[in-house]
Amino acid sequence: MNDDSFENELRKFQFLPPPTACRTTVLAVTKDRRKLFAWLPWVALAACWIVGLSLQADAGTLVWQRPAAVPQSQPMPTPIQRDEAILQLLAELNAALRDTAPPNAPKSYVPQFHVYPDQTNHPSHESKSKTLG
């Protein structure tokens, strides 16, 4: 038996086909995959949009949340910075009043500005108050 006739003998053998259930499984799986991947572009687009917005965010605040009137070069002062600036102004004012008062003027003549801890500026809180200057 030469090579060709041996090959021909082999060629006569037929393989068994895959089980019928295999077709059902394969088509069910591929259908699910196609449905899944149909959503993928939209998910990717949404992810890109979120990443783009995050890149525009400045110090944790998104662009559209920042007040438009405040320029970016002058950030809003924090409450502590604002209080310190007010105290500084009051101290300067008290010093100026003291300097301009007559030398023999009574102590009550010179007005004093107080800052009360509870911000009410009420005389009943005088004991807790702090005299500036």
């Binding site: 090959e7 053998f13 037929q14 895959p18 088509l27 799986v29 259908k31």
Partner: protein, 176 residues
């Protein structure tokens, strides 16, 4: 997008036979067959390639999946597979055949997977050695020698009384 059901009906039997031949396991062949069609469903480019060169492309994907599965498979999986009950590989023995289907199945099982792949593609898919080399991503001389050695082993197993002719001289065919 072409109908995957139609592609399945056209090619699944051939792919399953090829995978069954490579894996020697019914369950693994079914898993890999499913893998081929899942890959096909994932990419439009792949579908275009299938349309251009249907069977060869699918066989290439099947072969790559088989190689991947070989790399992943541990010894425990191989042991478990050895205990699986396998259905026959062939429909039956053709009339007037000098050997039977069971002997052929045993003989094929004794070949290394590389040689089984080449024999299957040459005998049952009718591919040329050049096409097989492209499909399996190996040099043509390698495909040629694998085929010759495999055929010699099959002949020795299936027709023990008949002396096999010597390998053809390498005058017009490349060898290793």
């Amino acid at each position: 997008m072409p109908d995957l059901a139609k592609l399945y009906d056209l090619h699944a039997a051939a792919l399953y036979a090829f995978l069954r031949q490579l894996t020697q396991s019914e369950a693994d062949a079914q898993d890999l067959l499913q893998g081929v069609f899942v890959r096909l469903a994932q990419s439009k480019n792949r579908v275009q390639q299938v349309l251009l060169n249907e069977r060869s492309f699918l066989l290439t994907v099947a072969h790559r999946l088989f190689l991947d599965s070989l790399r992943r498979q541990d010894s425990r999986a191989r042991t478990l597979r050895a205990w699986e009950t396998q259905s026959a590989l062939f429909v039956g023995t053709p009339s007037e055949s000098p050997f039977d289907a069971e002997s052929l199945e045993v003989a094929l099982g004794q070949l290394p997977p590389d040689q089984r792949a080449v024999v299957h593609l040459k005998i049952w898919e009718g591919q040329t050695l050049e096409e097989i080399a492209t499909l399996l991503e190996i040099p043509v001389p390698t495909a040629t020698s694998r085929y010759r050695y495999a055929l010699q082993k099959l002949r020795k197993h299936l027709t023990p009384g008949v002396e096999a002719p010597p390998l053809r001289p390498a005058s017009n065919q490349p060898t290793l």
